[in-house]
Amino acid sequence: MVGLVLVSHSARIAEGLRDMVGQVAGGDTPVTIAGGTEDGRLGTSAPLISSAIRAAREAGADDVLILLDLGSAILSLEVALEELDPAERSRVRISDAPLVEGAVLAAVQASIGASLDEVAEAAAGAATMTKVQAA
């Protein structure tokens, strides 16, 4: 099963999105979060991201798709990924998708038992998603 790790500069964004994703896709998909810094400020933290990846695995995720809110999170993310051994690292993918839409689409895809490739592809589709229909 594929799990999601949601990385945001804000703990509250991450928590709120986790709730929303759980409600839309149902509770079977492991979704863990790394929001803000360890001392509760806005920012990202490599240790928090590492624990979120571990927590996703413990919740039953064989593979993990990571989604992030802003590009600056990639620095902490890379540090966190360096801690993983190569076998683990190969089962983790970083998505370039917009965080909210990507997380919803990925969670639904993961909930039907899709592969990491399929879940990543579903998330990537969020980049072209139309929210406001032409009248």
Partner: protein, 105 residues
């Protein structure tokens, strides 16, 4: 190819949790499942495609299934939609038979 049509009653249309459930149920079947509304149609196994259809309340949707388990897929999807939709025939809402569910046999 079997198909069933409904009018959507849910005031939010087909979004969020109901759309996700639709995708989850459709994905249990081998058959290709499409959802059509007006001139547009979408792969019912794709959340992105379903959300992009932006199905509005009061609009008519037609679900088609193509494959060995097409009838089972349509029955399961109709059951999933439940009371959020009313079956239609030729664009006219059908009152379910007494004691029966709106799902096709």
């Amino acid at each position: 190819m079997p198909e069933v049509s409904f009018v959507v009653l849910d005031p939010s249309g087909l979004h969020g949790r109901p759309a996700a459930r639709f995708v989850q149920v459709a994905s249990r079947f081998e058959s290709a499942v499409m959802l059509r509304t007006g001139e547009r149609s979408a792969n019912a196994k794709s959340m992105l495609a379903l959300l992009s259809l932006a199905v509005k309340p009061r609009s008519e949707i037609t679900i088609t299934a193509d494959g060995g388990d097409a009838d089972e897929a349509l029955a399961a999807l109709a059951a999933e939609l439940g009371e959020t939709v009313v079956p239609t025939e030729g664009g006219i809402p059908v009152v379910p038979a007494e004691g029966g569910s709106p799902t096709p046999p």
